[in-house]
Symmetry: C2
Subunit: 255 residues, 2 copies
């Protein structure tokens, strides 16, 4: 067997066939997804919300550590307060569904341990177990409480990096937070596309008061709000204007 | 007209009809997207890569500031070096397509200015212009060079936040970086799903040496690599095992 998860395994009998998929259907979903600022006053069935949230959690997650949470705020009072914490913007106040995507970076340690146990019970190769038992704790940890050891981690990584290919971030609690936000954002995009696919619309909001949102949902210390996402059916006038994008050539660079 | 972009506009004649979409097609795409560690040795047509990258850029982007870039590494020598900077993992070395998703937080100022000019030329309402001319510079700026004013920004926001609903992050260059990474990650998920929809597969990689990748692609100071994404057709054995997810009930919380 391979020594590291980064080596090619000598044998792998597992296989998942790639099913035939419908590109045009996907293109239509992506192209018709717009940020909706005003919704129709019509409920979204709970089953639809649940299925879209389920698909959100099928997004890839860094090292499969799943440091994410989705809070679905159904209680009308909490929902009204959440909309207020989003500055009362109509994308929140008129929305039949309000959800909060939360990054939980500190869950990495518990999840790595559980991944190792789970994979061990399935007889996973040594390289995979060693990834969760050794590499993950080194990559996401070694910062000390409140990141007091982060400068040291930074120094060691940068020194070693002079001579060899080295993983870099996360080196500090801030880096760990960024790392978790990225994974949550992947799931958020799945969620928004899922609603569009199901005939509904969404609006991702980063205009909110994080302190108030965390207090409202009783989120633990160390968690952060990635974004608030509303969902429902677009009202006439709910899209504020044609999509504006700068020329693609600025952003797509070939080497 | 409304005073703020967070108010509901008094009139908006623009409308985009929501087209009928195919949920089953989408579900199949999301469910069959797996991280592929070994690819078949078959090229992906350039047109497919280009169309998937185009769809990536239709993801929502915070304040429409588009602080993202996708680098498509076609040159075989640079590509080999990039795979080396990803620790030579087979998801990179066997991939016919290698792309690098890059966050460019510092572009916000230039893009906000261009957004204001563009919208002004289209006769956009005052509230929208004021958003790009006043609110955006206050929200994403006011940190001073190298963030020397970030502690002051933090203090003022937290004091004002005692009495009123306040936007919080980004308060520091780190926060700005996180903000940009989130937007790039939304586009990354679009990109990966687009490849799956087109019959191809992908692997998002966060195991790479960011310093070496930045040097290789000559990325400017202030940019950061969100992730490296490979694409191609899954080889038999290219999926290492069945998808592992902890129980949904841990991550989906109802209020």
């Amino acid at each position: 067997m391979a020594d590291s998860i980064f080596d090619r395994p000598l044998e792998n009998k597992y296989h998942e066939e790639a099913p035939v998929t419908d590109f045009e259907a996907f293109r239509k979903i992506v192209e018709s997804r717009r940020s909706i600022r005003v919704y129709e006053d019509r409920a979204v069935p709970d089953d639809v919300v649940r299925e879209c949230l389920r698909l959100a959690l099928l997004a890839p997650t860094s090292s499969n550590l799943q440091c994410w949470e989705f809070h679905w705020v159904k209680n009308p009072e909490i929902k009204a307060q959440l909309a207020k914490a989003c500055f009362g913007q109509p994308a929140a106040t008129t929305a039949p569904v309000l959800m909060v995507a939360v990054a939980r970076p500190n869950l990495w340690r518990r999840h790595a341990k559980e991944m190792a146990e789970l994979l061990e019970s399935q007889g996973a190769p040594k390289a995979v177990l060693s990834y969760y038992k050794k590499l993950v704790p080194a990559a996401y940890g070694l910062m000390g409480p409140f990141g007091v050891l982060s400068p040291l981690k930074w120094l060691v990584i940068n020194l070693m990096g002079l001579f060899q290919v080295m993983p870099r971030d996360p080196m500090s609690p801030w880096g760990l937070k960024t790392w978790a936000h990225k994974t949550v954002a992947l799931a958020c995009e799945n969620l928004m596309l899922a609603f569009r696919a199901a005939g509904y619309d969404t609006c991702p909001m980063e205009g909110f008061d994080e302190v108030r949102v965390k207090r409202l949902l009783k989120l633990p210390r160390g968690s952060s709000v990635t974004m608030v996402i509303s969902a429902g059916r677009r009202a006439v006038g709910g899209v504020y204007g044609a999509r504006v994008r700068f020329p693609e050539s600025r952003f797509l660079i070939e080497h």
